[in-house]
Symmetry: C2
Subunit: 337 residues, 2 copies
């Protein structure tokens, strides 16, 4: 299908749709649940609470260092499930494609999705493709929804952070945001940056395995960055959060890019990071377990949860000056994910 | 929010996103699982097989007689679950919105979704909103995914049609397709047409309730029309299907429109119809039960499943002449749903 383009007929539900489904989606997503092609897939879930989530992906450009829209679409939904303590199991994939989109690019994206799914240990079990006329969409948009299982006894929630908890971030922040921005604007840095897009279910399960009851809240700081995520945890748990600027892991490249472009890394998107509130007495144990993992190597305690000033996030710079961190107000950058 | 427009910031994940979520989605979709706003919603599923499906909606125009993109998005996914014999329970909703889209239109769509969800008895428990720049999308696209439960003993599949089965259609065909087309092209007919968009879980459960083991295959003939659906059942079940043209229910308006525009109603989209293969000895019983239902009033047996010519669908006209019905080859009409 190398030099072919997507036609309106590929979204018609007729013969061309079937060709695309068989030749591309079924081939690369290959799993017994996707075949035969029923209106819905059916499976037995093990006992436990079911977790369910969705996200759409409109990132521009669709290919970037460290990932692409397909890897993002799988990892993002895997991660949203993981942040509830769920084991992600099954994903759906809905494609909206602009007429004239190269089928070779679609195949590259589908392969990337299938690789990310394999890494995360999930299956893509149902899907849908719509094609719109030229200029009615910008290339390709992907929606994924996911179903996972929360094991008995696990209760992780954005409402559960408690005063005294250590605030942990799983690694360097801002990598995805700076990567997408620099690609879009044709910027090149001395030390190259790449997106951190990654499935975090392994890391989240490691944290829960190290101290099951101690992991109170987890959230992946995507759009809006860690500032917005911390603020959401503070508001929903009715606690204050204090973080120390110098403890926040930032790569040299991201630090330089922020300085050059006047960006605040607190607001830059991440696609492979966890922000967590963990009971203080277990924080070292959880941190050690994280650091032994590929996606948690640079994990650090960056602050703590307080009882005073509920809903407020404060950051202290190396000179001891404090300022209040607000939620991202408007649009820092559209189509970052 | 009446005279306001969607801004890029509404999709940023920051403060404006939160305003939109609280002021619109949480308000109209109001249900305990959507609040608090976690990365994923969590619920206990009753025992049984889980069904999971997704569809994206790009219909143009977004409002039309009988429905809108919101009603379509809820009903379409409810129906895909229902066609497996599942009871639909939980839906996700992912919005991709063009910058400048009127918030009043978005609210109208969200209210329509919430009404359709109420009618179907499902809850919209998680969602996502992305905003893209002007001209990067055409107004609004919606993805829904759905989770349902297949009760023990139910086994409905596009693979299960058997020779001798009666082929039933649940009502007049082509209404949705003709409605969208005529709206798009500014056509007006003497007898007005309107979309059949409707949730079919009640009707499907009625059929299964009337004769649980007799309903072998069900599918809703959306894109590609009943021709494509019958062809899919014939292929996947390795059977032949013979239908009688004069038995197919078609409204006067759709009949006239097809004649005037040179359309074949066999290929026109439906959004509130079921095509089913039902054991012959129970067909009358199932048909009676369907006709007692609002969305099954015009149900009819339109043909039968045969052992010969597997994969082939044949239609016989009132004069006895037979022709083979092929799957829709290319694009009859884009953005019909």
């Amino acid at each position: 299908m190398d030099d072919k383009l997507i036609l309106l007929g590929h979204g018609s539900g007729g013969g061309l749709s079937h060709d695309l489904i068989d030749g591309l989606f079924v081939r690369h997503f290959a799993n017994p649940l996707l075949l035969p092609l029923e209106d819905a897939s059916a499976f037995d879930l093990p006992p436990g609470k079911t977790a369910f989530t969705t996200d759409s992906y409109v990132v521009k450009p669709i290919f970037f260092p460290g990932g692409d829209i397909g890897r993002l679409a799988v990892c993002g939904t895997v991660n949203d499930l993981s942040m509830r303590g769920a084991r992600p199991l099954y994903l759906s994939a809905g494609f909206i494609i602009e007429e004239g989109f190269p089928i070779a690019d679609l195949e590259r994206i589908v392969i990337s999705m299938s690789e990310a799914a394999r890494e995360a240990g999930v299956s893509i079990v149902c899907g849908d493709t719509k094609v719109v006329e030229r200029r009615a969409a910008d290339g390709i948009f992907i929606n994924t929804a996911g179903v996972g299982l929360i094991p008995a006894g696990v209760s992780v929630s954005v409402q559960n952070a408690r005063p005294g908890d250590a605030v942990i971030v799983s690694g360097t922040i801002g990598d995805h945001g700076v990567t997408v921005l620099s690609q879009r604007q044709g910027l090149h840095f001395v030390s190259p940056v790449k997106s951190d897009a990654a499935p975090l279910n392994g890391l989240a399960q490691t944290m829960l395995g190290a101290a099951p009851a101690a992991v109170h809240a987890m959230r992946d700081p995507t759009r809006g960055g860690i500032a917005t995520t911390l603020k959401e945890i503070a508001s929903n748990s009715s606690v204050g959060i204090e973080i120390e600027e110098e403890r926040i892991p930032v790569s040299d490249a991201v630090g330089a890019a922020c300085e050059m472009l006047g960006l605040d890394y607190l607001y830059l998107a991440n696609e492979g990071k966890i922000v967590a509130a963990v009971a203080e007495e277990q924080a070292a144990r959880v941190l050690d377990a994280m650091r032994a993992q590929r996606y948690g190597r640079d994990a650090a305690v960056i602050g703590r949860v307080t009882a005073d000033r509920p809903g407020t996030v404060t950051i202290r710079n190396p000179f001891g000056a404090k300022r209040i961190v607000e939620m991202l107000a408007g649009d820092q950058f559209p189509r970052i994910c």
